[in-house]
């Protein structure tokens, strides 16, 4: 019990702290790295609740794909984050409003729980109990059978996304040097020059 609690507080503290660092850190690349840390800790929390499938998906999809994409975007785009922060005070009232709404919702949920604990049923309890079946297995039981139709439809949607991305962005550009493997392989030793490059001078 104490071990569970210890792990819970470990994950929860790091998740909240790194969540704070995402918005507090000055360097956007560090922000993304803190975001990844927050995701990993959230995955740990999921794991403790018996939702191991969700935990793995969080790591694979959010850390593996989404956060890395963020990282690429922040590194490649020349966004002036100092300039973005200029309007911080301007948006403060709106942000505060959203904060108040979240706080009220939280109070309502906790208030309802104090009045009648039976009112708030924990949605985290997996439908088949984890002793009978892991929730990955439970998903696998229905994904390709009962939900086969939805699965196929989702596949078609992804196909559309792929075709759409290609249609809208792929274009033939002139003057690009492409790798031509057969030409590379057909080179003989005479075609290749080996030169000694002087240090700090280049060719």
């Amino acid at each position: 019990m104490t071990v569970t609690a210890a792990f819970f507080y470990l994950f929860a503290t790091i998740a909240v702290a790194s969540g704070f660092m995402v918005i507090a850190s000055r360097n956007p690349v560090q922000s993304v790295l803190f975001l990844i840390l927050a995701f990993v800790n959230a995955a740990g929390l999921f794991l403790m609740m018996g939702a191991e499938f969700l935990a793995m998906i969080l790591v694979i999809v959010y850390v593996g794909a989404v956060a890395v994409l963020f990282l690429f975007v922040t590194m490649m785009l020349d966004v002036d984050f100092a300039e973005l922060r200029q309007g911080f005070l301007q948006y403060l009232p709106f942000g505060a409003l959203i904060g108040v709404v979240f706080f009220l919702e939280l109070t309502l949920v906790i208030g309802a729980y104090i009045i009648d604990p039976g009112l708030v049923r924990s949605p985290a309890v997996p439908i088949p109990s984890p002793d009978v079946m892991t929730n990955t297995e439970a998903l696998g039981q229905v994904l390709y059978t009962r939900y086969f139709y939805f699965f196929q439809a989702a596949g078609l949607i992804l196909l559309v996304a792929m075709i759409g991305a290609i249609v809208l962005t792929l274009r033939e550009r002139k003057g690009i040097r492409r790798q031509n493997i057969s030409v590379q392989n057909a080179r003989t030793a005479q075609d290749v020059q080996v030169r000694k490059v002087p240090f700090r001078q280049g060719i």
Binding site: F148, F150, L156, L159, V160, I163, G164, V167
Partner: protein
């Protein structure tokens, strides 16, 4: 837990399977053959849609559920699917010449049309909220891409982006509403929701219902979720606009009927107000806002908003007669809108397309037959007997009066008279203004669509029985 799972019946899903398998083959074929293959892929896509249409017509007429109860086929689904497939094939036929001349005849266009059609068929046959949402996303995502298909044109990309952002917002609203409905009824399946909700609905459920209605209203461009329509219609390439005005409207209206009649029949009083409001607002906006338009594509956007309002009058009744009205209205609207867009697509001199009302002046002297066809479309859209449009409006207004929605019917008639002004102005410009230069000869595909829709609009008065009977059977299958 290892229950033996029966393989679902694939018969009722045959049209979708034909299209899906076919489109995968076409993607492969196009990718191997490269850019030059658009001509043959257009033909093959038309063949696919034709095959799906045959499969739809051969479906059984009685109600069949399959895919674990997520997919339903009945007379209503059959009828609306047939209309959608006709509209999609027209979307390809109208594009043939235009895309080639605009230099954007890439093979992905017919493929995206077919993919979007699969989404429409899925939406029409959806029997639970998940199937509805997935079908809608398939339909919408393909639409966003084809709106921006002329990617080097600023207006087309703007249309695509605007459609995408607003569409994503509306999908979010629909999904939020669907989750509330699921939370308050405990089921995503329409029949279960219908049996759970009898007589009264809690506040939370009505909240969810409003969000679902908002998502649907966006798709059929009903007021107050119409704001994207004029910009997208004006910016998208004209054949794409024709497609948007025809096919997704059929699917969207079928989706509205499916959700409200199949899932929420027990709480008619709750959603009737929403639909009545949306119908009145759409009819009014469609009539008033179109008066100031000079661009024909924008004008048709407002016209389609108004027409959706008229069709919603039928849905607002919640009766079998009202749904019959909706089905008749959509069938006739399809013919009128395709005919009008066929004329807009023929206004071309060399490489330049003309899109304003002034460009139509004196069309009766330069192209008498085209002017006559367009005049018939305009008279029909204005609801002047004996053309088809009159009977469409007649069907929904009679249903409204029989369902004690007299005020709604009266407002409908008044707005329809106001709307007649801008339709008749086009006729006036064509017949009484100074003639401009001749346009190029009509491409054969466009001519085919125009001829077919003109014949339908003009001669409907002589043979209304087949459509009325089929629409009646379609409506009865829902009750």
């Amino acid at each position: 837990m290892n229950t033996a799972l029966a393989i679902p019946a694939f018969g009722p899903v045959l049209p979708e399977i034909i299209l899906a398998a076919g489109v995968l083959a076409l993607v492969l074929f196009g990718a191997i053959r490269g850019e030059g293959s658009s001509g043959i892929i257009n033909i093959l896509a038309l063949v696919l849609i034709g095959a799906a249409l045959v499969a739809v017509l051969m479906l059984p007429s009685e109600r069949v559920e399959t895919m674990g109860g997520s997919f339903v086929v009945d007379s209503f689904a059959k009828f609306m699917k047939a209309l959608t497939l006709i509209a999609s094939s027209a979307g390809i036929i109208l594009s043939l010449d235009f895309m080639r001349r605009a230099g954007i005849n890439r093979f992905e266009y017919p493929i995206l049309i077919v993919l979007s059609t699969i989404g429409m068929l899925m939406v029409i046959s959806s029997n639970d909220l998940i199937a509805l949402y997935l079908g809608l996303e398939l339909l919408s995502l393909s639409s966003y891409v084809i709106a921006a298909f002329d990617r080097d044109n600023v207006r087309s990309t703007e249309a695509g982006l605007k459609y995408f952002v607003l569409g994503a917002l509306s999908s979010g609203m629909l999904l939020y509403g669907a989750s509330l409905v699921y939370g308050f009824t405990g089921s995503v399946s329409f029949p279960t929701i219908a049996t759970t909700l009898q007589g009264s609905a809690g506040f939370g459920l009505v909240f969810g219902l409003v969000f679902v209605a908002a998502g649907i209203a966006f798709k059929i461009s009903a007021v107050p979720f119409h704001m994207w329509t004029p910009d997208v219609y004006e910016g998208a390439p004209t054949p794409v606009t024709a497609f948007f005005a025809a096919a997704p409207k059929m699917a969207g209206m079928a989706m509205a009927v499916r959700v409200f009649i199949d899932a929420f029949p027990g709480i008619l009083g709750q959603w009737q107000q929403i639909i009545v409001f949306s119908a009145i607002a759409s009819m009014a906006l469609g009539s008033f806002a179109a008066i100031g338009q000079r661009n024909l594509k924008r004008l048709m956007a407002y016209s389609s908003i108004g027409n959706v309002g008229f069709a919603l009058v039928g849905l607002a009744t919640g009766t079998s007669e009202g749904i019959q009205g909706v089905v008749i209205y959509m069938a006739i609207y399809l013919a009128m809108t395709l005919g009008t867009f066929a004329v807009i697509l023929s206004m071309r001199r060399g490489d330049r397309m003309f899109e304003t009302i002034e460009d139509l002046s004196g069309l009766s002297r330069t192209h008498p037959l085209m002017a006559f066809c367009l005049a018939m479309m305009m008279f029909s859209l204005a609801g002047i007997p004996p053309l088809a449009g009159f009977f469409a409006k007649f069907a929904v207004f009679t249903a409204a009066i029989n369902a004690n929605l007299v005020t709604l019917a009266v407002i409908g008639v008044v707005t329809s008279v106001i709307g007649a002004y801008y339709y008749l102005r086009i006729v006036k410009v064509m017949y009484f203004d100074e003639a401009v230069e001749r346009y190029d000869a009509m491409p054969s595909g466009v001519r085919f669509v125009l001829a077919l829709s003109s014949v339908f609009v003009v001669l409907y008065v002589l043979f209304p029985a087949p459509l009325t009977a089929a629409a009646g059977a379609a409506a009865r299958s829902l009750f």
